[in-house]
Structures are given as C-alpha cells and as structure tokens.
C-alpha cells in the first residue's frame, strides 16, 4: 500500500499547487477586470461622498496585494470570508449547492450512463442506420442552443396533452399542500437534491461491486431500487405531495410541468451533455475492438455482452471519465443558463447576482468552490487509475 499512499500524497500536493495558481489568477482577474466596484451602487443613493465612504468602510481602497493577502488568509483558515453585503460566503454557497447538485450532479451521472451505454452500443453493433441516427441526434442536441432547448421543453411541458391537469381534471391547491409542512420549499428541494444524488452514487457503487462479484441481478436492480427507495421514503414520511410540487410542478401551481421545474432542468442538462460522452466512448471502444485480447476472449467462447462489458469497456471507459472530469468547468456553461432560466436557487443565480452587484468575494467564492470540486473529482480519478493500473502507482517509486 505504500506506493499508493505516496502517490496520493504527491497528487494532492500538485492539486493544491494548481488550486493556488487558479485562486491567484481568479483573484486578480475578478478584481481588475470589472468596470465598477461594489461601492458604485452607493453613488446612486448618496452621491460621491457616500461612495467614497462605502469604499473606505469595506476596505476596497486598500492596495490590491493587501486585499489578496487577506483573501488568502481567509482561504487558509478554511473559510471563504464574508461577502460585501456582510453575509458569510460559505453559508450562501452551501445553501445553493444542493440545488446545483440535483441538476448537475444527478444530471451528469445520468448523462454519463446514457452516453456510455449508447456509445458502446453503436460501436459494437456497427449498424449503419443505428450509427447514423444516434450520431445525428447527438450532434443536434449537443449543438442545440441551451435557452432554446429550455424554451421548447417548457413549451411542450405546458401543452394540455402532456400536463397532468388535463388528464386528472382535479383542482390543484399548492397552499393546501404546504399548510401542514413544517419547512419551506427550498429546504425540501435541498434535502431531495442531496438524497437523490447520494442514492445515485450508492447504487453505482453497488453496481460496480455486483459486477465484480458476478451477481447480475443486483447490478441491474441497484439503480431503480435506489431511486424507488428515495421516493418511497419521501412518501412514507408524508411529504409526497410537497416533494412532487417542488420537484415537478414548481412555481406553476397546477398539474402542469412548467418553468421552474427542476425535473425539466435535469432533462435539459442530460440532453445537452450526453452526446459528447457517447462519441468519446464510441471512439474508445472502436479502438479496442481490433486488439488481440478481444479476439482471444471471443475465441474462448465468451458471450459478446461479456466481452464488451467486462473486457473492452474497462479499457475504454477510463479515458472517457478523465475527459468528462477535466471538462467540468466547460460543461457548466450550459448549466449556468439552464439554472438561471428556470430560476432555480442554485450556484448560478448566486453567481449572477454577485456579478451584477460586483460583490467580488462572492464571485470568487463561487469560482473557488467550482475549482475545488473539479480538482477533487480529478484527484479521485487519478486514484482510481492508480488502483486499477499498477504501472501508474509504481512509476513514482523509480
């Protein structure tokens, strides 16, 4: 285990160095590039003297390096400092993170599962029609303009035929639903977001374990079981209707899926993100198809599914994972718009608000959290690589 520990230590050190460089670049970028500062808004109400007074009070007229050092000081003590309006950045980010996790975390995992399944399928079948149809659809969805896709989904979601209102013909009273609930809408959204994401992660781990132990039933049932488990738990606790209201019909206040629905945001994100994964998996699987070990495995009499899932996929999927994780900041671009268009209380609405008021500590806080999450995912992936491939972890001994 020693080489592995050493590997982890070296990689964590490098990740910290990258994080330091990123934080420094981000700090000087954000502090110098914005045309106004936070104090500018006081000019509108109180004129120049109020603006100068606010600048003095908030410490915005200190030299840049002094502000940088105090920012670094906050970071080294583990906090993100306080925003210019006096709230704790850490608390604000922590409040927005679960919603983002619900859309981006679960959406990312589902997009990955869908993309890699489709990619394996079209590489293996080599059916021209299937390949053509899947490729065209993926290119089309990948290049779809996110606000347009969101508009279409909302438009379709509110048409009478799709909405439950049309079929149920029942009065919908969202105030009655929330009357006896001891917590607010956003609390439930947070809890539901975190538990759905955790259920997904746990079921994926269970699936991996089951595949290794060759218990196919557990592998197939893990994902549906976990999702049904969360749903049943929410219903048993008596919060079924509020959960449905906040996750599906949110802000529509009727049995119609409308703007503001996290489920639609989730669907939009999966549609935007799966195509790229499909193409990379397909290229990876096709590259492995000609290898000798595949021919050997087939000649031994193994079933095609087994060769594909146990032999090829293991070699082909790891590079895809690393590609997906390094692309996280880029994939987030679509999410930014999706979240703000659906008016979900996630990180992106926090970010937009803070950019508008030029609240630099808050802007930086969101950026730092994104950086830490991305680096954490990469570190996890490196570790996975090292566990699976002894050449990588032993490379550090020489």
């Amino acid at each position: 285990m020693r080489p592995l520990l050493r590997f982890v230590a070296v990689r964590s050190g490098l990740a910290l160095l990258t994080l330091f460089l990123f934080v420094t670049t981000a700090f000087f970028f954000v502090s110098t590039v914005m045309p106004f500062d936070y104090a500018t808004q006081f000019w509108f109400s109180g004129g120049t003297s109020a603006m100068l007074e606010a600048r003095e009070r908030l410490g915005l007229n200190r030299p840049l390096w002094e502000q940088y050092l105090s920012f670094l000081g906050d970071l080294t003590t583990g906090g993100l400092g306080s925003s210019l309006s006096g709230e704790s950045v850490g608390a604000l980010v922590a409040a927005g993170l679960p919603t983002t996790l619900l859309v981006f975390g679960t959406g990312g995992v589902v997009a990955f599962l869908l993309g890699s399944w489709l990619g394996k399928l079209i590489a293996w079948r080599q059916n021209r029609l299937l390949v053509g149809a899947a490729s065209t659809l993926s290119v089309f969805l990948y290049s779809a303009f996110p606000p347009w896709l969101v508009f279409l989904l909302v438009y379709v979601g509110t048409t009478p035929l799709v909405s439950l209102r049309f079929w149920l013909d029942m009065p919908y009273d969202s105030q009655a639903i929330w009357r006896d609930v001891p917590f607010g809408e956003s609390d439930l959204l947070r809890v539901a977001g975190i538990s759905l994401f955790l259920a997904l992660v746990v079921s994926l781990l269970a699936r991996g374990w089951a595949q290794r132990r060759e218990i196919p039933m557990v592998g197939i049932l893990a994902l549906p079981a976990a999702l049904i488990g969360v749903v049943v738990a929410i219903v048993l606790l008596g919060y079924g209707q509020p959960a449905l209201d906040v996750l599906v019909f949110r802000s529509q206040r009727s049995y119609a899926i409308g703007p503001g629905s996290p489920i639609l945001a989730f669907v939009a994100f999966v549609l935007l993100a799966y195509g790229e994964i499909m193409f990379v998996v397909r290229t990876g699987v096709e590259a492995e198809l000609g290898e000798d070990y595949v021919v050997t495995a087939r000649a031994k009499g193994l079933s095609p599914e087994r060769v594909l899932n146990r032999h090829i996929a293991r070699n082909a999927v790891l590079p895809v994972l690393s590609r997906t994780f390094t692309g996280v900041p880029y994939i987030l671009t679509g999410l930014l718009v999706i979240e703000s268009q659906f008016a979900l209380p996630g990180l992106s609405s926090l970010f937009f608000g803070s950019v508008r008021t030029v609240d630099t500590p808050l802007v930086l806080g969101v950026l730092v959290v994104l950086g830490v999450v991305t680096l954490g995912l990469r570190l996890f992936l490196d570790l996975l690589h090292a566990v699976l491939d002894p050449r990588i972890r032993l490379g550090f001994q020489r």
Partner: protein
Amino acid sequence: MTSVSLLRARAVRPLRGRALANPKVVFGCVLLGLIVLATAAHPLLLRTVWSGQPAVYHPITGFDPALSHPAGPSVSHPFGTDALGRDVLSLLLFALRSSLLVALVAAPTIAVLALLSGSLAAYYRGAVDSVLSHFGEALSLFPPAVALIIVGLGRPDFGPMTIALIYGVLFGLGPAATVVRSRALVVMTKPFVDAATVAGGGARRIIGAHLVPDLLPLTASQTMSGVTGALIAQALVEFLSAAGGKLGLGSLVYLGLVYRGLVTGAVPWTQLLAGALTISFLTASFYMISVGLRESSDPRVKY
C-alpha cells in the same frame, strides 16, 4: 531519403486522406461553407434584390409598414419579420458576421497557443514544462463563459473580438495545451526524434520539422472544439444581454423570447427557429469537424 525521414514515415501515418474519408469532417465542411456563402450573400442581397427598399430591409433600422408585426413567412419576407418589423432573414445574415468573426479570431489564437505551449513543454521538459502545465491546469479550471460574463456585464464596448480573444487564451493555454502536450510527449519518445537530434537538429529544427507536423491533426481537432465552445459562449453572452447590446444570433433568440406576448402573445416561431437553428448548424459544423478529426487522428481506429 535520409534515415530520419524514413523513420518518421514509418511512425507518422498519412492523415489527410483519412480525415477526408470521415463523413463527419466532409459534412461539417460543407455545412460551414454554406453558412459562409450565406453571410457573404447579405451585402449582395442588399445591393440587388432588396435594393429597391433599403428602409425595409436594413438589418437594424428596417421596418415594413405594409404588415402587422411579428409576421409569419411570406414571399417578401421568407423568414417573417420580428416584433419591431425588421426582416428576419436580413437580421440573421447580418448577425452571422459577428459569429464568423469570433470563429476567425478564436481559431488561430487557440491553435497557436496550444501548439506553442504543448510543444515547448514536451521539448524542454523540466522547469518550462512544469510552469506551462501547472498554469494550463489552473486556467482549465476557469469556465470561459463565466469569465466572459464577468468582463462583459456593464461594458458597452464588449464585442466579438474580445469574446474570441478571452475564450481563445483560456482554452488555448488551458485544456487544448494539456491535450497537445500529452501527444507531444509521446512523439518525443519516437526513434526519429532521437535520430534527428543525433543528426544535429536543434530546438527549432526538431519542433518545427518533426514535432509540429505530427501535432497538427490533434491541434486542429482541439481548435475546432474550442471554436464550437466559443460560439456557444458568444450566443449565451448575447442571450444574457451581456454583449454590450450588439446584435448577434443569441440576441436574435433573446428578442424573440422577450417580445413574445407583447401584443398578441403569439410565439414568433420563424424568428426563434431561424436564430436557434442557425446557432445549431454553425456550432454543429465545427463540432462535426472536431469529432471527425479526433476519430481519424486516433491511430488505433480504422476507417
């Protein structure tokens, strides 16, 4: 043939033919060509077909008094008019200019920065490599669209050039350089590089004649994928009205969604479709070229 070029010929497989044999590359190029032709046709249309009514077909100030707006497609306005009475086709072709400008500026920025950073890091290794690759890693944590919004909000002079340069620098020195560097490290271990060094080749010779030609297909694929991202980011920034109010494909969609329901509540489908599908076709063309080049530059995939 010298022994160096013999060794190289064995190591580097002909790529031009394989790239053009990939249907995605061909389809993407054709689509891009059509879009460029359409953009070039706009001034011609203004001078010929639309020359009789400059007040109607002007892309910014045009207005057709004969119709109530927004109007659906007709013979005089094939894509209809927007809520302000402007011809959507004229708007669309005019808006394409700024998108093509972004592609034109972002592509060389990404390609040059990625090639330079990747090949210098792989050739010199050591300190140069660790500075360049750590800096690249740090930059790839920065979402370019976020950077564009930070720069763009409240800045009236924010336009396609700035968008392309910011995106190009972040993507070129960040993710693209990381990918190109890893390929360059592989090339540096090939026997023909050792042979060229023994034969007396200096840094300029090795990088210029041996490293860069081998890295070109991968750099091209990365560049095209970067341009795809830059175009999407540009449209998003325009949609979020952070592009200094300049007319672009993103603002065309934005105006369509905002002015919907102002008078009649009707959805201006032709305007939305024209704007959104053009963004799709434009980004899809670059994306397909990128994916096609990636597939055909992977030496293990046979087509």
